[in-house]
Amino acid sequence: MTTRFFGERVQRNEDEVLLTGRALFVDDQQLPGMLHIAFVRSEYAHGRLLGVDPARALEMPGVTAVYTAADLGGYWQPGPLLVPPPPIENLTFHARTQVPLAREKVRYVGEPIAVVVAESRYLAEDAAEEVGVDIEPLDAVVGLEEALAEGAPTIHEDLDSNLAAHAVQTKGDYEVACRAADVVLARDFVYDRGVSAAMENRGIVAHWDQRAGQLTVWDTTQAPIPIRNGLAGMLGLSESQVRVVAPFIGGGFGPKIMMFYPEEVLLPWIAMRLGRPVKWIEDRFENFFSTTQERGQLHEAEIALASDGRILGVKDVFIHDTGAYNPYGLTIPINTQCTLLGPYDVPSYRSEFRVAFTNRPIVTPIRGAGRQHGVFVMERLLDLGARELGLDVTEIRRRNFLSPDAFPHNHEILFQDFAPLVYDSGDYEPALDKLIEMLGYQPSVDKPLVPDSDTQDGVRSSGSGDVLRGVGIVSYIEGTGIGPYEGARVRVEASGKVCLVTGVGTQGQGHHTSFAQLVADQVGVDVGDVRVITGDTREFHWGTGTFASRGAVVAGNACHAAAVAVREKILRSASQLLEVAQEDLVLADGRVTVKGAPEIAVGLGELAVHCNPLRGAVRSGTEPGLEATEYFGPERAATASGVHAMVVAVDPETAMVEIERYLVVHDCGTVINPTIVEGQIHGGVAHGIGNAFYEQLVCDPDGQLRNASFMDYLIPTATDVPPIETAHVETPSPLNPLGTKGVGEAGAIPVGALFNQAVEDALKGWAPGLELREIPLSPNRLFELIEEVRGEKSSETDS
């Protein structure tokens, strides 16, 4: 294989249209005669819907229609269960999926009740205010333990309780391990809920062309193909009558792969009913209620350690918050369960979870998708173990890393893709060594961990008072690039340029470039000469979507395979045309030349035309043109990994934390474009910093969100995110020809654990015995925790 672009820092093909404001986002779509939509949403978290009265709204100027659940007739159906649970023994699972418009009951603030169609968005919002909604409030179920407590109000009344699922997965015998252990540590851990906060809110434009019998939907989805297939089924159309386009998408991060949002079901139906195009664009306030969220879990965990720090076993019992409905099945808690094991050799494991319905917005994966929680629990347990045994935090990890010859390593439990959790490859110590070197870290137990000549016992004097410094180092793994499959089609056009089409849409990951690099290498053209089309079902309609860090792994390998097939076609036809053996041909710079006789050549465009003649026959058994379509489906997930470090400065008086340094050594197998990979890591880390430090949806006991704006829900800005020092190590995946592993979610996964560890380290002299076991950890909350520990200490001294 010629390798000119693989691994190179190629500039992105998609940037020019994005930088000049010419890229098409869903809200940029303007169609003649288009009507606009606003939703009437529940103001109560839990209640009986007694009536909806659209009469006043319908009288308002510019209002075309108002629809409620009753208007939908047989079209009203709960959404599909996207991911049925894997075959875990003795599993309890109750699917209760979202509905297009509430009827009889409302189950979260923001649940859609009615939809208003008007000549402008302004008029639609005016009219939405006038729709009468009669709700009898019921007690809201907000907390996780409360949701599962005896006598809690039931959210789905056909169930006995709010238990959505219960599952146990085990490996070895934890009780035996526990008896053999020198140290057993048990702790509780809390991880709270946030929003994905893609800068582009969701939106849909639907257009029904009655004469052509064609429905076109522009949708901010990460999964246009399944949306098309589902809509065709729901609307009684042929799949070929429905085109779903996911154009440029302003960030995805998971919630844009949820299927089907009520709005996605309703807009196409309204467009067909009214015979006019319709548009709905979510506003930011709506986004805090109507777009899915993630991260609420409570853990009670134990680790059994030998005196040398080796892990003998881990036990974890947790509750996962799925919100009011659970269309995504068990993906998140199973990710938590599986990712907890990390890069470590864990001989025995017992993990049990219960999933609770609550009166809060629906939970589906957000960047990391439950992996954060597992890493948080395991890494914090190891830190506590290290402290107990007098080991350095890096040493306890090193002693438990799986060795490079341990792969493939079977953890003997099931992963989210229904396959056993088998790590394909990995080599963890070199990454840790590299990180330690970059950090200038000296493993130690008693001494301050930050090597800095300015510090004495970890305390540095600064203008505003003493600042305490601490360091954290954590490891994690991530199962990436799961199946089932993706596909790609590569075609050389008469212009000599290449068109690459894949079903996987893009939300900023640089698919137009990294996929083009793969194709350019095979077809012998420049990356800029590969036009990439993604996310348009008219162009390609086989595939699933962009999720689970799988673009480069699954779609990437499909692009590569299609390009290899086209390369073979090019060489075969050129060989026939030039009457030269294939092995004597060179394919480069957009043409095929003969080795040693470069004047004998044919350009790719000319060859493409030659292969698609207007006269003469294309022999049976051959195909016209220089085109190929190929698919790739991995056997199971590819195991990416990494180590992160953070140096923090904490002002103990105010509990303000500043991140002074952030370091990442990452292994995502072979790297197609290091610049793009770094960008993915940086963004993930920033997201993780937000989760760790600022981002929390503050919900009152009535299920009302108290901070539904960017003024009150803080996401990190340029002054909060430090420069991130990044290095790559490469352990190629044996499960795909390119050796790639996923990277999209990686950066966000270990940050919570790291932040707690680093801050705890900084405060170990100031608040001895302080243990941080919760996320997020805002300055206010940290201040409270410090005061609790210091208060206990001073009261001990007093007495």
Binding site: E14, G21, Q30, A198, M199, G679, T717
Partner: protein
């Protein structure tokens, strides 16, 4: 209940009758079809809708179209000259200063006056100038690098 307004957008004079409550962002996007200006929060925090109003960076979701009457507006569509990107735009491409590209037009419009007013800004000044914009994709680092690159480029072109 329209109010007549007359304003210059990207060098072109537009006369329209608009509702007093129409946001400038919606006016630019939906009345004039200048969809390069993006709307991310509609409450003045995310900065995606930033445009230049008489040369000053403002959030167009916090300005009514009627307030722009008689004034000069510049949007991201006006930065490149034909096929030649503005130095800030090309620095963003070079340094991978964008991923999904949704927040990018607003950031570019803040950086145009910032780099005109601030010669050779240091990293902290850049981060502060950027802190009125939210980006969820990049972690800001490569945006900062892009602005540093653009600053060098622009300083070089004025010295010549």
């Amino acid at each position: 209940m329209g109010r007549a307004i007359r304003l210059t957008v990207n060098g072109e004079v537009h006369e329209r009758s608009v509702e007093p409550r129409l946001l400038l962002s919606d006016f630019l996007r939906h009345e004039l079809g200048l969809t390069g200006t993006h709307v991310g929060c509609e409450h003045g925090v995310c900065g995606a809708c930033t445009v230049l109003l008489d040369g000053e960076a403002v959030r167009s979701c916090l300005v009514f179209a009627v307030q722009a009457d008689g004034r000069i507006v510049r949007t991201v569509e006006d930065l490149a000259e034909g096929d030649t990107l503005h130095p800030i735009q090309s620095a963003f491409r070079q340094a991978h200063g964008l991923q999904c590209g949704f927040c990018t037009p607003g950031i570019l419009m803040t950086m145009v006056p910032f780099l005109e007013e601030t010669e050779r800004p240091d990293e902290q000044e850049i981060r502060e100038a950027l802190s009125g914009h939210l980006c969820r994709c990049t972690g800001y680092q490569k945006i900062v690098e892009a602005i540093q690159l653009a600053a060098v480029e622009l300083a070089g072109s004025t010295e010549e």
